[in-house]
């Protein structure tokens, strides 16, 4: 495929302080640092009441009855009160997929601990919780499907009675492995497991709904990444016309995927607000989050890798199980995780043959929700540990084995074994750069010196690609009920000469508010302080499917770029008229249109347009200074960011503790819009990845009772547990996107588990211990060491 020339990269020059590539401070930080941001919990509306939920104490039970406290019947609502509220129902076109009805409040059965059974309202949250306590729920326990094995066992109870098993979906990719098997010099077999996690945004979910009589609209303030999608979901389930629903996402304290799906609480709170005519708010607390929100990351793998004597991958055969929990979330379905896992396992490698089967298993846990990196942290962990196992099997350096297998720059663009189209880049170069940064060259000496002091240190790598801004065809192939396509944005010159940008995407900590302003500045050549950005309100912004799948910068950025380009064109026409010259003889610079030494400032042009049309010609183009444009990249298959992470760790064999001594990320995400924001995204993502690698885990007992319901039990890494990250970059602009931008929001969360556990295994190699499960807690590390000790003693 020939690379199309990117016409949009030929722009006018001029001084540039806030455009693409500038390290501008984030616009949103002032309000956050001053405590002036407005989250759902900060909104004050007179007469607003608070909601609390009665949640299921059991993982699987039939509901025999719910009794409201006497005298409070009009303050407690169950599904029986809401016959008009439709359940969340996520269809998919994938064959074998089974649909689950996910009611806002449980109807006949509860299917996980923490599932909502009734909603209670009162003037304060404490009173609402008092009410919730006074509700009695009569539950008849059912056999609990606490894990994958129980759910798949013959004769297992059914989670959804109309199904004939407990599988949401199975998929197969039947590559022919016969050649790989015949030629293989080494065969590596491993099983891997990743823990169930909760995403833990600083701000949990929150929703405040009220009926606006003037607009005849339900107005829902909700902590979401996808306001326009929530509007669609709410109107579908509530039976309202979309015109009767306005969704406003105010400041949002982190999303990570947790807030990209329709929440049952959004439905019941909205229903009650409409029914009672009161503003109603619910704020998720940490215990609700850690129990009812423990909904992500849990995978299990069985992998067989075939390689030649040099460590060249010949084929991979994989079985992947995903513990989906009880319900399919809307709109991303219960399928996305396994479909992505199966599709992404080959990662950045040039892999000849591939076979893979996936099982999306229904269990008594909260419904699986895509989390930063979606499936890839799991597949990267499995694949990267396998690469190290191959390296050990053939006796070669893990970096060399990787470089032998990574898709080389010369092969770009490259279509891999699962049909993914890698648009640009040089994957081995990134791996070598990371290795250089971390000092791989003299690591052997460093390791020997440490060993002489009785210390165990190890080096580990993990490489990955991050598919970003994948569009219509990709999501349609995953069978989703709602497929993203293009994106619109509005850029307007206000009468004062300032610029307004409006996007239906959302900014919830990832800096999009600043980054899309920079794109506008790139065309309009003005300081970012002159740009006002409005996002997240369905009444004020063009439609957008929202922020997920690392699409915000590419899609919203692309749309702002097109709109700003068109606005710049119009400004030059009007400016040229004021300057009495031809538009071709003008340029934009410093917030003005210039012709030689003469200039017309944006304020002057705006004044002419809005207030003194007499200064413009009679036959002026009336299209105006408010431009809405739409955008999609030249390809639909996504832009692939790529990176290699490298970690050096020290493992204390006496306490099982792992300390990260050095951590390097070498990444290429195409053109960097704001390098500082990118660094922040890398730190934050890697911190979450380190959480997965070493700390975070929702534990359950055999009755699927969560055992980690406070932050004393669910351990998040803090500043003291995180290393000083060192970052390196190359810039390979994508030939297929505006400005060569690729998405990068998820990336850094993908690789830490692979890099760190490889480093741990490198450190433990002298003891004969190997870890294949995350988090690599001190308990697991010590357990592996004790097991290896016992095996050695038994052999002696």
């Amino acid at each position: 495929m020939a690379k199309p020339a990117p016409p949009e990269q030929q722009q006018g020059t001029g001084e540039m302080t806030s455009g693409i590539g500038a390290r501008v401070l984030r616009k949103e930080d002032a309000r956050h640092l001053n405590g002036k941001a407005q989250f759902v919990g900060d909104i004050k509306i007179a007469g607003c009441w608070e909601a609390a939920f009665v949640r299921s104490p059991l993982a699987h039970a039939r509901i025999r009855g719910v009794t409201k406290p006497a005298g409070f019947e009009d303050r407690v609502f169950t599904m029986e009160d809401m016959p008009d509220l439709r359940p969340i129902r996520c269809e998919s076109t994938l064959p074998s997929y089974k649909v689950s009805d996910y009611p806002a409040l449980a109807t006949d059965k509860v299917r996980h601990v923490g599932e909502c059974i009734a909603i209670c309202i009162a003037p304060t949250r404490a009173e609402a919780e008092d009410l919730a306590e006074a509700v009695t729920v009569d539950l008849a326990p059912l056999p609990v499907l606490a894990d994958i094995d129980t759910a798949l066992a013959p004769g297992a109870a059914r989670l959804h009675e109309d199904w004939d098993d407990n599988l949401f979906l199975t998929t197969r990719h039947d590559g022919d492995l016969s050649g790989a098997k015949a030629r293989a010099a080494v065969v590596v077999e491993r099983s891997f497991e990743t823990a169930r996690q909760a995403m833990n945004p600083m701000e949990g979910k929150g929703v405040l709904a009220r009926w606006d009589h003037r607009a005849d609209q339900l107005v829902v303030h909700t902590s979401t990444q996808v306001p326009h999608l929530i509007r669609t979901g709410l109107s579908d389930c509530l039976g309202l016309d979309q015109a009767q629903v306005r969704v406003i996402a105010p400041d949002v304290g982190g999303g990570f995927g947790y807030k990209c799906v329709l929440q049952p609480e959004e439905l019941s709170v909205s229903w009650v607000a409409r029914k009672t005519g009161r503003a109603i708010r619910w704020t998720e607390d940490r215990r609700e989050h850690l129990t009812a929100g423990a909904n992500t990351r849990q995978h299990r793998y069985k992998l067989t890798a075939y390689a030649d004597g040099e460590g060249r991958l010949l084929g991979i055969d994989a079985d992947i199980w995903v513990d989906i929990g009880a319900y399919s979330v809307w709109p991303f379905t219960a399928c996305l995780e396994a479909a992505q896992a199966g599709g992404n396992l080959p990662g950045p490698y040039d892999l000849g043959a591939y076979a893979c089967r996936t099982w999306s298993v229904a269990t008594n846990k909260p419904g699986f929700t895509p989390y930063r990196g979606v499936a890839r942290p799991g597949v990267c962990f499995a694949m990267e540990l396998t690469m190290d196992a191959i390296a050990r099997a053939v006796g070669k350096d893990p970096l060399e084995v990787r470089c032998l297998n990574l898709v080389p720059g010369a092969a770009m663009p490259y279509t891999n074994v699962t049909g993914k189209f890698y648009d640009s880049g040089d994957y081995p170069a990134a791996a070598r750069a990371a290795a250089d940064m971390i000092g791989a060259g003299n690591f052997a000496a460093r390791k020997a010196a440490a060993a002489a002091e009785g210390r165990l240190i190890g080096l580990g790598y993990a490489c990955f690609t991050e598919q970003s801004a994948h569009g219509t065809k990709v999501f349609a192939a995953w069978g989703l009920p709602l497929v993203p396509g293009y994106e619109q944005a509005t850029v307007k010159l206000a009468p004062s000469g300032a610029v307004e940008v409006r996007s239906g995407n959302h900014s919830f900590g990832q800096g999009l508010e600043t980054a899309i302003a920079q794109v506008a500045c790139d065309w309009l050549k003005l300081d970012i302080s002159r740009v006002k950005v409005t996002m997240g309100d369905t009444a004020l912004t063009p439609y957008s499917t929202g922020a997920y799948a690392s699409r915000g910068m590419v899609m919203a950025g692309g749309a702002v770029s097109k709109a700003a380009e068109e606005l710049a064109r119009r400004l030059r026409i009007h400016g040229a008229h004021l300057l009495q010259c031809a538009p071709e003889d003008t340029e934009i610079r410093g917030g003005a249109v210039w012709n030689g030494q003469a200039s017309a400032s944006f304020a002057e042009i705006a004044a002419a347009w809005y207030l003194h049309p007499d200064r413009l010609p009679d036959d002026v183009d009336t299209a105006g200074l408010e431009v809405t444009e739409g955008y999609k990249p030249a390809i639909d298959t996504g832009l692939f960011t790529y990176a290699t992470h490298a970690a050096i760790v020290e493992v204390d064999p006496e306490s099982g503790r792992t300390e990260i001594l050095d951590y390097v990320i070498f990444e290429d995400c195409g053109r960097r819009v704001n390098p500082m924001i990118l660094e922040g995204q890398s730190y934050g993502g890697a911190a979450q990845g380190i959480g997965s690698a070493l700390f975070e885990e929702t534990l359950y007992d055999s009755a699927a009772q969560p055992l980690t319901s406070t932050l004393a039990d669910y351990i998040l890494p803090g500043p003291a547990e995180l290393p000083h990250f060192r970052l390196g970059h190359s810039e390979t602009p994508s030939p297929y996107s505006r400005h060569g931008i690729k998405g990068v929001g998820e990336g850094a969360a993908i690789a830490p588990a692979g890099a760190i556990v490889n480093a741990i295994n490198d450190a433990l190699a002298p003891l004969g211990a190997e870890l294949t499960r995350i988090p690599a807690t001190p308990h697991r590390v010590l357990g592996a060491i004790l097991e290896a000790d016992a095996a050695r003693e038994a052999a002696e």
């Binding site: 949250r125 919780e129 008092d130 006496e654 306490s655 010590l782």
Partner: protein
């Protein structure tokens, strides 16, 4: 996560406090253990009686060869050495390792002892230092219980329902103790997975080797302690593990290893391994 309704009283004298003690009342000092239990509605007292307004409970003094710490003295004050009399260095070290500063600003030594979380620091550290707890009843009578005996098990103490902890007494000689303290935890400021504590004071013959965070009351390893004092030799980790295994039957091997490691590391501060 809001507590059930309660009445909140803050007496400012010991006498007023005594009048408020009742089975429905619960004392609250720093609230750093009780607060979460209230919010989770695991504790639902009708009445909360605060200790922070009673000046005497916040005093530190020296009397009859004992350093006396009022029950409401905060971890932060101990960490800072904010005291009219010098504090044993080990106390300040232990305080610094409890939680993080915001918790230490409010959490109190008496609250920690009364709560008796098996993974907490003070129950183990004060056992090593040979401290005793001063208990005062509503009627005003006082009794003193030496540390190993005060903690009866996980979250169980020698306190009777009508008593409060008034103070903690530590022998002043402990300022000159030779000590080692090691805490293994998953992240900075977390409760311990294992604690090892050792305090030696040759002039008075004080020797205490203690394993903490065992899941139950702190474990005094009398024999191992006496042996290391006699031989001035660091015991081998397997020997420590065997001593622990004998005293804590049924403990899983990983936990035993952690406990042995922290003991060994505490000892290593005094005697090189």
């Amino acid at each position: 996560m809001k507590p059930a309704a309660f009445e909140h009283l803050r007496p400012d004298t010991a006498e007023a406090l005594a009048g408020l003690l009742s089975p429905e009342a619960k004392l609250i000092a720093g609230g750093q253990s009780l607060g979460p239990m209230l919010n989770l509605r695991l504790a639902r007292p009708a009445r909360l009686v605060g200790l922070s307004a009673i000046r005497a409970l916040g005093e530190i003094r020296e009397q009859d060869g004992m350093i006396v710490l009022g029950a409401a003295v905060t971890h932060a004050r101990i960490e800072d050495g904010d005291s009219p009399v010098p504090l044993p260095p080990m106390l300040r070290h232990v305080a610094r390792g409890i939680a993080y500063r915001a918790v230490r600003n409010r959490g109190t030594i008496g609250g920690s002892l009364a709560h008796a979380d098996p993974a907490a620091d003070w129950i183990t550290a004060l056992t090593a230092l040979g401290a005793r707890v001063v208990l005062r009843s509503a009627a005003g009578t006082e009794r003193r219980v030496a540390m190993p005996g005060f903690v009866r098990g996980a979250y169980r103490t020698a306190l009777s329902p009508d008593e409060i902890i008034a103070a903690v007494e530590i022998p002043a000689a402990m300022r000159d103790a030779i000590w080692g303290y090691d805490k293994i935890c998953r992240k900075v400021g977390e409760f311990a997975d294992a604690i090892g504590a050792l305090a030696l004071h040759p002039p008075t013959g004080h020797v205490r080797l203690v394993a903490g965070a065992t899941g139950a009351a702190p474990l005094v390893l009398a024999e191992a302690g006496a042996e290391l004092a006699r031989s001035a030799r660091h015991p081998a980790i397997p020997a420590l593990r065997d001593a622990l295994a004998a005293a804590l039957p049924g403990t899983d091997p990983v936990k035993l290893r952690l406990l042995a490691t922290s003991l060994s590391r505490a000892i290593a501060k005094v005697l090189p391994a």
